[in-house]
């Protein structure tokens, strides 16, 4: 079973700052998904990355897939309080531990 390691597990920053969350594996991902989950709701799919070196942007969120397809990152620019939540990476139904992000006003 592929193991996904996410870091950091917890992150608390001020509104307006930038941040990066990482997802790593010792195995090659066929594809990788990033999710955001708010309390009381199921995870919501943000993006799927498939090709090594791929970069996808979703407003202030930038997702990168490593060239070797073993790692991925999520970068948020000028974080807002609405970005607060649990961010999860996943591949083939296996999930990382998650990053609990808190954006303070």
């Amino acid at each position: 079973t592929q193991l996904l390691e996410q870091s950091p597990q917890f992150l608390s920053i001020q509104e307006g700052e930038n941040l990066t969350v990482y997802c790593n594996s010792s195995s090659v991902f066929s594809s990788l998904q990033w999710y955001r989950q708010e309390p009381g709701e199921g995870p919501v799919l943000l993006v799927t990355v498939v090709t090594g070196g791929e970069v996808k942007k979703l407003k202030r969120l930038t997702f990168q897939f490593g060239d070797a397809r073993k790692d991925s990152s999520l970068h948020i620019t000028a974080a807002q309080t609405g970005d607060t939540g649990l961010y999860l990476c996943a591949s083939l139904g296996v999930f990382g531990q998650g990053t609990r992000l808190t954006i303070n006003p």
């Binding site: 594809s31 919501v44 999860l88 999930f95 990382g96 531990q97």
Partner: protein
Amino acid sequence: SAVISQKPSRDICQRGTSLTIQCQVDSQVTMMFWYRQQPGQSLTLIATANQGSEATYESGFVIDKFPISRPNLTFSTLTVSNMSPEDSSIYLCSALRAGTSGPSSYNEQFFGPGTRLTVL
């Protein structure tokens, strides 16, 4: 994306009883899954619900405790049997749908809103 609904959204149950959670997808999907999630933590896969055959369970989960049905390509149920307080958790239904990105094909997972179960 796929729209997934779950019933009930939450329940409080007595020890020793059973609860069946229903999951409905708005379109036919290839695969459906059931996950468990403790508040603030990541998701743990319970089983894959196979249409027309027995579910495939992950290590640590057994059919007697978590019987699953999948009578068609849009519906599945998970039963939590003989509940104890340790079964208190959020139970999530998920469905897999194929996607494409240029020449590449892949599968995307979508989730229902979850069922928050509390066992007293």
